[in-house]
């Protein structure tokens, strides 16, 4: 008996700890279930409303270049929004990702330590600027200054059609893309920087000892090691670009047309269209907007799935780094 008591000197507190475990487990399980229920409720709500809207739609929801939701036979489709969202986000990615990777490489492998910290801080500060401020900056500062730039592009590459410019204020998808690039730069940079920083010292020394220059070390070890990190960082940025609302709504002059040229004003994105139309829309109109929001959600899901696939395919090469 004596031995038993000695083996469990704090019997009471142990029971208390087990009670604590049970409470914690219950809390964790409860939170999990609540989350699932909330998600399910949102999904059901959105799907029901979206279905209602689609049933009323006289046009083809995927191909109609029109957004007329009020009155008799409403006709609306997401073609313009899908194109605008994809095009502006793609431009943003093309501009932001290389710059972000460059900044991250500079901060982790080239900059002296005294310089790296303040620069990293400045980049992070960009993420703290509210998106409406970006929107105002874009509309008031960027748009007038891009006109000259677009005229030059028109002169040089106008023959492609994609980069021709008719001369109106530059409230176009290209401008939105440039603005979005600035907005997603900090998140892409800071995630990439963290991944680059984790490149194992031993691997980098292996490259150095083989006679690699600094750039070769980066190319042989840092970039391949950080590849999946770059992909996830880009996807985080893309997620933000796809869903950005206020800045796009402030800069873009919306129209339900797809221009051949990315530089000409007009177009729209899912989020911008919802923000611009929501206030004036009646119930049917809101249902239509919800349907378009659901498409945006599916698009984001698709993008994330693709990113996971890319990362998983390289996994066996990414592991086992000491």
């Amino acid at each position: 008996m004596n031995a038993t008591t000695q083996r469990h000197p704090g019997g009471a507190s142990r029971r208390a700890a087990r009670l604590g475990d049970r409470i914690f487990a219950g809390l964790a399980k409860g939170s999990g279930i609540t989350l699932l229920l909330t998600m399910a409720a949102v999904a059901v709500f959105l799907t029901v409303r979206a279905t209602l809207a689609l049933r009323e739609d006289e046009g083809n929801f995927l191909t109609t270049f029109e957004w007329r939701t009020g009155g008799e036979d409403p006709e609306f489709g997401i073609a313009v929004l899908l194109f605008g969202t994809a095009a502006s986000s793609l431009i943003a990615m093309l501009l932001a990702v290389p710059v972000a990777v460059g900044i991250a490489l500079f901060l982790t492998h080239y900059a002296p330590r005294r310089l790296a910290a303040p620069i990293a801080w400045l980049v992070d500060l960009l993420a703290a600027v509210p998106s409406i401020v970006y929107g105002l900056w874009g509309a008031l500062y960027l748009v007038p200054r891009l006109t000259g730039c677009y005229e030059w592009l028109d002169g040089a590459f106008g023959w492609t059609g994609v980069l021709s410019y008719a001369g109106a204020p530059a409230r176009s998808l290209m401008t939105v893309g440039i603005l979005l690039a600035v907005m997603i730069l900090p998140i892409v940079t800071s995630v990439t920087r963290e991944v680059f920083r984790q490149t194992p010292r031993a691997t980098q020394e292996a490259a150095l000892a083989l006679g690699a220059t600094r750039w070769e070390v980066v190319r042989m070890t840092v970039l391949p090691f950080g590849r999946s990190g770059i992909v996830s960082a880009s996807m985080l940025g893309l997620g933000r670009a796809l869903g950005e609302t206020m800045a796009v709504a402030t800069v873009l002059s919306p129209s339900f047309l797809i221009h051949a040229s990315l530089l000409d004003s007009g177009g729209g994105t899912f989020a911008q269209n919802i923000a611009s139309q929501f206030k004036e829309a009646d119930t049917a109109g809101r249902d239509a907007l919800i349907a378009s929001g659901l498409v945006l959600f599916l698009l984001t899901l698709l993008v994330n799935g693709a990113a996971r696939l890319i990362i998983a395919r390289r996994r066996e090469y990414a592991g086992a780094a000491l």
Partner: protein, 259 residues
């Protein structure tokens, strides 16, 4: 191909800390020289000064001379990248490139040199060096699998294959067996014995039996007190060091009286 190394009055620092002081010795070509001594005596530091890897560590700097066949590695015109192509290195923990296949690991150094090899040429070089590292038969069917999937001993032999594929003149090994089991250690030691006919080999080891087994000459390092720089106590033929050393400290260390 193999070259002789002369170290002259070499002192190495980490920032303000002096790690080794005034080392003068030479390393014979086509032979194995072992560095032994207690932890912190600076034997790894000295090894890393021989291919200018010491200065890669922040704050690392060197005074004195290291001559590779009379050419000073620390001369003002010398490019450290070129030095490291001539003096290869194998590390304590096997460090194959985790993102590369076995094949690409061996070919990595060759691709750095900027020479374009034909596929068949590269295949030959990879096979020859994997054979040279006694690894070919174990990996020939999975050359395109990641190098990180091999066992520790195989990874270390892969690292040796990678190092010798660029045909260095000197091969530095920093405790290459300390993370390996006895069987893998034996495999590496056999390999060192085979490689010494072509390369100048310097090996740092904590295992005195290993130094006695593989080396022709042995250098013993010690530090007078903790925080003081390490010094070379003596360097001589391995047989002499292990049977009849000139300095009593060496005998005390080898017979296990300290360290």
């Amino acid at each position: 191909m193999a070259k002789r190394i002369d170290v002259h009055g070499l002192t190495a620092y980490y920032g303000a800390h002096k790690a080794i002081e005034d080392i003068t010795m030479h390393v014979e070509p086509t032979s194995v020289t072992a560095f032994i001594g207690p932890s912190g005596c600076g034997k790894s530091t000295l090894l890393r000064t021989l291919n200018r890897m010491h200065e890669v560590t922040p704050g690392g700097r060197v005074e004195g001379k290291v001559l590779l066949d009379n050419e000073d590695l620390y001369g003002p015109e010398v490019d450290p990248v070129a030095v490291r192509r001539t003096v290869g290195m194998v590390f304590q923990r096997p460090n194959p490139f985790p993102t590369m296949s076995i094949y690409d690991n061996v070919a990595a150094g060759l691709r750095l040199n900027g020479i374009r090899y034909r596929k068949s040429e590269l295949d030959d070089i990879v096979e020859r060096n994997l054979r040279g590292a006694n690894l070919w038969h174990e990996v020939k069917d999975r050359l395109n699998r990641p190098g990180s999937g091999l066992s520790g001993g195989q990874q270390q032999r892969l690292c040796i294959a990678r190092a010798i594929a660029v045909e260095p003149e000197v091969l530095l090994m920093d405790e290459p067996c300390s993370a390996l089991d006895p069987i893998s250690t034996l495999a590496i030691e056999d390999l060192i014995d085979k490689l010494k006919t072509r390369y100048t080999i310097v090996i740092v080891t904590h295992n005195m039996q290993q130094a006695a087994r593989v080396s022709d000459r042995t250098a013993f390092f010690n530090l007078p007190a903790v925080g003081r720089p390490g010094r070379l106590i003596e360097v001589d033929a391995t047989e002499k060091i292990f049977s009849n050393p000139s300095v009593p400290d060496t005998e005390d260390y080898i017979s296990g009286r300290f360290g």
